[in-house]
Subunit: 407 residues, 2 copies
């Protein structure tokens, strides 16, 4: 049996609970990847438990209490005691990063915080590792899911800010006191962290200008829609005139902008540099399980020490017949009964039609169909049969369609 790694958990709310379960569920995979079997050394809640005893027993401390007090004190003591720390706490890193990074450096331990910005979207790792020596010129994006959900909803329903906020609270996308999110302070803390990492410079949170979405009128969104624009709360950190600018503000985007399609509670971050052009990363910005996954990724990185050489766990069989949706293009004779005959072939092969468009007449008649998802083998059987129908004027053309639609 491999040596256990004992993890001390600070906080047992939504994220803490999800992390606890995920760690148990992925224990086998963690052992396979790192050679160490994870164990929970103890759990400390905000108001109960003994931090000294937890630090004695834990090798890695995971902080998901949130807020500054007592998280700052606990994390600092953990680092000083030579414990690696993983935290999801953006305010802690944004406000007290200097103190904590110094403590980690002095103790020779790791301080990781992927979950503090954009949830499971790996923007911290990519900036700190993939782009460690890249001269980043700009980092910007949608780093607050609550406001992105509200703005998406306002655009699709035409409802007011106040009504949409209430709906977001009902759905669990906004807190009872939403001011940190909707006022822009949450996004400002995240942008301060990203700017610090991207530009290797200290960023004081009180220097980050921010503006929220509380003043947005449904009018603004609907007029802008006519101009083809969509509204997002953007965080922007960029090099400017030998200095930097770090700001948060609501902003319209033209339709082809990579951030324009990011809707609902999703986050997305773009990084620009001459040597990379740009990288865009997006995904869920919050959620207990997603945040716990980001925390777990950091824990595994600490355990890996250095990246593992790729290892095979088990051979998996290659599956051949899978489900797909298809587009089918048929050039047909323009006469009665053609559609019925094709529909009959499809029906007998259990292929279900989602939409049909008939175009042209006479020598240019065409049927363009999109099918619902089903086994590819059924579709291809139907296709083979259709190809033999005497009223076809050309080989049928079939192309797969991704049917899944996103938020």
């Amino acid at each position: 049996m491999s040596e256990a790694v004992r993890i001390g958990l600070l906080g047992r709310g939504t994220v803490g609970g999800a992390f606890h379960d995920l760690l148990a569920q992925r224990a086998g995979a963690i052992e396979a990847a790192t050679g160490r079997r994870p164990e929970i050394a103890g759990v400390l809640r905000r108001s109960e438990g003994d931090i000294d005893r937890l630090l004695e027993e834990a090798e890695i401390v995971v902080e998901v209490i949130g807020g500054i007090d007592p998280a700052r004190d606990y994390v600092l003591r953990a680092l000083e005691a030579g414990r690696h720390v993983v935290t999801a706490n953006k305010q802690l890193i944004a406000q007290f990063g200097d103190e904590l990074f110094d403590a980690a450096r002095e103790a020779g331990v790791q301080l990781r915080f992927e979950a503090a910005v954009a949830g499971v979207v790996p923007v911290i790792r990519v900036i700190q590792e993939s782009l460690a020596v890249t001269e980043i010129t700009k980092v910007f994006g949608i780093v607050n899911g609550t406001t992105n959900f509200i703005l998406s909803e306002m655009a699709s329903t035409g409802a007011t800010y106040a009504d949409t906020l209430r709906r977001a609270q009902e759905l669990g996308y906004a807190e009872a006191d939403p001011s940190e999110d909707v006022g822009g302070a949450d996004a400002a803390a995240k942008m301060a962290i990203l700017a610090r990492l991207a530009f290797h410079t200290p960023v004081r949170l009180d220097e980050v200008q921010f503006q929220g979405i509380t003043e947005i009128q449904p009018d603004d969104i609907s007029y802008a829609k006519e101009l083809g624009l969509s509204l997002k709360l953007l965080g922007v950190a960029e090099r400017r005139d030998g200095g930097i600018s770090v700001r948060v503000f609501p902003c319209f985007l033209y339709p082809h902008h990579p951030l324009a399609p990011v809707e609902g509670p999703f986050n997305a971050v773009m990084v620009e540099a001459p040597a990379i052009t740009e990288i865009t990363m997006s995904g869920p910005g919050a959620g207990g399980l997603e945040t716990a996954s980001a925390v777990l990724g950091d824990v595994v990185s600490i355990l890996s020490g250095r990246p593992a050489v790729h290892a095979i766990h088990e051979p998996l069989e290659m599956v051949r017949d899978i489900n797909s949706s298809f587009y089918l293009h048929l050039e047909v004779a323009d006469r009665p009964g053609v559609l019925a005959q094709i529909a009959d072939v499809l029906g007998r092969n259990e292929v279900s039609v989602r939409s049909v468009v008939q175009r042209g007449m006479g020598n240019d008649a065409r049927l363009v169909m999109v099918m619902h998802e089903g086994p590819e083998s059924s579709f291809f059987r139907a296709l083979e049969e259709i190809a033999t129908l005497e009223f076809l004027r050309a080989q049928p053309r079939a192309i797969r369609v991704i049917e899944e639609e996103f938020v």
Copy 2:
């Protein structure tokens, strides 16, 4: 002076040349990040140079020759000699991964290959590190820039495949012999690598089904456009019925799909798992400098050994007045001269108007304007002046607009 790290470079084509220059240009940043100053130990071209001497002198070997022969032999010898290797060679990893990973494991050295899939998009690192213990269910995306450029062009111009291929060749997006790209074999090799890493299973390249874009008709694209669909060459690797499926095929996407807006020579990869929902990453899939950046990221990771605690390099000043484009919403009295007066204020403050829409009449008259980019201080000066105009029926509303449009 810090200890030098000597890097042996195999190949001096577009990527090799770009890497050579980038390494020199970022030498200071590399030393600051890793404590080691990089030096080129030697360069070996396909047909000239002594591999034994290079291996003696290099600590890290960078392989950007491409192809199997002699790359396979060189990389294997480098690993066996205890040298870390970074390669951009997808065919090498897809076809001979097992052999190479074994050699790296036995020698206790790293084999890194971020640039082999999706260029500078950090999909390898994210799958291997952030998601090392995540049970990934599906990895899919656009992993060939040549075909994505051709399909985007066909959609926007209505031109045939053959004409568009010629244009791609003129622009340098397609090679003189494009068959590996347009036939799907290039994407198949990349998907074999992603499937192997995501599912921790060996994937034989000859088991990956692939289909290219050479048969696509302009018709298919234009009919599909009417249905709101866009055409992409997709690679899909997923768990299915206890096994896996790895395939490459042209495929239509509905407009809200996160991959639908990916156009031109860009790549984008999505990773799905219950614990993360989904992560999408996109960026340039090729380009000498971008590929060299991905290679350099791998070199730096090898030098870091373990992730550095974040270090400040230099304090940067916070810049206040930056350039922006604005949307301006004005409720105005419906009478002659209003637009002229506003235009006059804007003009005197050197704010240039991009578009104007006038809506409503009488008591509901509104002017909605979008400005070209300019100093924010000028705009706010103009805004202050506009707010005092007596024909305004409400406070003006201003929101920033991202003007930049993408491929």
